[in-house]
């Protein structure tokens, strides 16, 4: 590739998620124009209040996508976030139920996520198991632990009106018109972006994801780095679990089934490559927003659930196909 092509590829990659977002909005507009000849539904979608609601509903997937971005750039994959989130909500609810404060429950939830991630990293590096299989196993293990801890019951936290501020982590009022959840998301996203861009750790994440063997030969401590990546990702899944708990108000061992797929889809739509080395924080956020917006739009447009699932799938495949086609032609 010539330097010009590389620059094109980089700029283009950064813009791709926004292109997808624009395409989704355009499709919404066209569908409205052609089906009822007006823009009633499109206006409902674009209503600032609605976009804000979507942003709130998006927080859980987006937090998960941040963690997943780290893993995917590093050349791995994690299938355990859905189960990890369920386990953390159970742990949080159990803490609150046994009288601990919100802060303790928060730390316990984050700790649970990080521990699952640490375990993932340890299994992958110690036993030399590919991430797909290791985290597939963890998906089942964490789900089982969640059910075991909760005796297969939802854990209700007593007294919905008491001072459990953890329940307001998502929808509670934060800064101005933005909810606590959105503020948390933005802060964590900025932190991750800075870490990826400006720290040695961040550059190693890209290096290992691009070419693990080369990174190893250059003397990078690849294994330790990987464990750290999965643990950090687990921490983000823990944060997503806090938001999930805040939404449900209870610990539910059967919640977030299949959430890992939404999360992975968000990263992929956002330009992350499953062969590693590529992906961005902003892209993943936009990718997550697209998924949430699709879900919201399909409700406003009264599109049946099966069609909605098909549309989501088509967009994932289309985003990646366009990505590869354009890049290949250019190089």
């Amino acid at each position: 590739m010539t330097p010009g092509a590389v620059r094109f590829a980089r700029i283009y990659r950064a813009l791709l998620p926004f292109l997808s977002l624009a395409v989704v909005l355009l499709v919404f507009l066209l569908v409205d124009l052609f089906t009822n000849g007006g823009m009633r539904n499109f206006i409902k979608v674009m209503n600032p209040e609605n976009l804000m609601l979507v942003a709130n509903q998006n927080v859980i997937i987006a937090l998960g996508a941040l963690g997943m971005t780290l893993v995917i750039i590093n050349g791995g994959i994690d299938l355990s976030p859905g189960s990890s989130i369920a386990l953390s909500t159970v742990v949080i609810a159990l803490c609150l139920k046994s009288g601990f404060s919100s802060s303790v429950a928060l730390l316990a939830g984050l700790g649970t996520g990080a521990s699952i991630g640490l375990l993932n990293g340890a299994i992958i590096t110690r036993f030399k198991i590919v991430p797909f299989i290791a985290t597939l196993g963890m998906m089942s293990i964490a789900r089982g632990m969640a059910k075991l801890l909760s005796s297969e019951q939802k854990i209700n936290v007593p007294d919905p009106n008491s001072e459990i501020w953890l329940k307001d982590m998502l929808y509670g009022e934060g800064l101005g018109p933005f909810s606590n959840g959105m503020v948390t998301l933005v802060v964590l996203a900025l932190a991750l972006w800075a870490v990826l861009k400006y720290t040695v750790f961040g550059r190693y994440v890209f290096a290992i994801g691009s070419n693990e063997t080369a990174a190893r030969l250059c003397g990078l401590r690849v294994d330790g780095q990987k464990v750290l990546v999965y643990m950090l990702a687990g921490l983000f899944f823990g944060a997503a679990a806090v938001m999930e708990f805040s939404t449900l108000g209870n610990g539910d061992p059967s919640t977030a089934i299949g959430k890992e797929l939404d999360i992975i889809a968000a990263v992929v739509i956002g330009g992350g490559s499953l062969s590693g080395g590529k992906g961005s924080v902003l892209g993943s956020l936009v990718g997550a927003y697209i998924i949430s917006l699709l879900r919201n739009g399909c409700v406003l447009y009264d599109i049946p659930n099966p069609v909605q699932e098909i549309v989501t799938g088509v967009i994932i495949v289309a985003a990646v196909t366009i990505d590869q086609l354009l890049l290949r032609r250019r190089s």
């Binding site: 007006g38 823009m39 209040e49 609601l53 859980i60 209870n250 409700v299």
Partner: protein
């Protein structure tokens, strides 16, 4: 801000820029319809969309929509939308919030969780969107947070099950209650109704096991039933199961042990398998809810509420017992094997 509904789909630059400028100014656009010819949009939110039970609920909602529309006084549009993933509470919460913000005229909701759905329902109340709760209860204040509660009287379902079992046992013998799983409100009430009635009306029937639980799935229920039958098969005369999966598991175990038809058996809810077994006499009674009626009354209630009628706090949708003798009457057929095609033809 009012947009013509019949605007032609044209892409001339002028028209497009007009649309765009309209769009820019439309952010705060509120209700735009003339109240006289306004179509009432009612969102019906079930717990899932694929199970047979919810298909019947869907049919009931459409039945109400068609009846109201053919009555002509008011146009009604039903928006049927369940969580994308069956039984996903988070998605159901998101759905309620989306519909509230969208400004539907009413919501008919079967809450997946009696506490988790409270805050979105309160948000609906705050925005003056009336909510009718159906099928399962909500831990909120009826009359304030939601308009009314439309559901099966589960306790009475248990009472009817006990009466039927007592009747086929001739008022004497030994009976077993196989409970459903822990924490399920509706089946607990059925179990209580069954036990209370057994003790009160059939003192000569001895309850030899009432503490075993079937678990969530038919397979778990099957294994539990096998264990129960192994232990009690020489003495038990009658069995009651409070829901569909428990009854199906017990039916399988009875057949496997060759005890079907010998031990009297009353179940709850209908499935094709259970209804066939009822026809063959392997089951002596099925307590049937009325999911079609539930959604039908749910939609009618929310419309009544919008029109300012005073609603009762609770609307009973009825339970009945199907027996091998009465199961082929048109009225019973409508309950256990309804022809949904006339409603769900799309």
């Amino acid at each position: 801000m009012k947009l013509p509904d019949t605007a032609p789909a044209s892409f001339s630059p002028g028209f497009l820029s007009l649309l765009l400028s309209l769009l820019l100014f439309s952010g705060c656009g509120g209700k735009q319809d003339d109240p006289l010819e306004k179509t009432l949009r009612i969102a019906v939110i079930p717990k899932g969309t694929t199970h047979e039970f919810w298909k019947m609920v869907h049919a009931g909602a459409i039945k109400a929509e068609r009846e109201l529309n053919s009555a002509g006084a008011q146009k009604v549009e039903i928006i049927w939308k369940g969580p994308l993933k069956e039984d996903n509470t988070e998605q159901q919460i998101n759905l309620v919030r989306t519909f509230v913000l969208q400004g539907v005229d009413g919501i008919v909701l079967a809450p997946l969780d009696k506490t988790a759905l409270v805050s979105p329902v309160r948000e609906a109340a705050a925005r003056k969107v009336p909510v009718v709760i159906f099928d399962s209860g909500l831990d909120a204040e009826v009359g304030k947070d939601f308009a009314t509660y439309v559901a099966t009287d589960n306790y009475r379902g248990g009472v009817l099950g006990a009466k039927r079992l007592g009747e086929v046992l001739g008022g004497k013998g030994k009976a077993i209650l196989l409970r459903y799983q822990v924490g399920s409100e509706s089946t607990m009430q059925r179990e209580n109704g069954f036990l209370d009635t057994m003790k009160k009306e059939f003192p000569d029937i001895e309850l030899i096991s009432t503490d075993q639980r079937a678990g969530a799935t038919e397979e778990q229920a099957y294994r539990k039933s096998q264990n129960l039958l192994t232990r009690f098969k020489d003495e038990v005369n009658g069995i009651f199961c409070p829901n569909e999966s428990a009854a199906a598991g017990m039916l399988g175990a009875l057949r496997q042990a060759g005890l079907n038809g010998k031990i009297k058996f009353v179940g709850f809810d209908a499935s094709e398998k259970l209804v066939q077994a009822l026809g063959k006499g392997d089951i002596d009674g099925l307590v049937l809810q009325n999911p079609i009626n539930m959604a039908y009354l749910g939609v009618r209630s929310v419309i009544d509420h919008i029109n300012g009628k005073k609603l009762d706090d609770y609307v009973d949708t009825g339970v009945q017992v199907a027996t091998p003798e009465n199961m082929n009457t048109p009225q019973m057929k409508e309950l256990h094997s309804p022809d949904l095609s006339k409603w769900l033809d799309n």
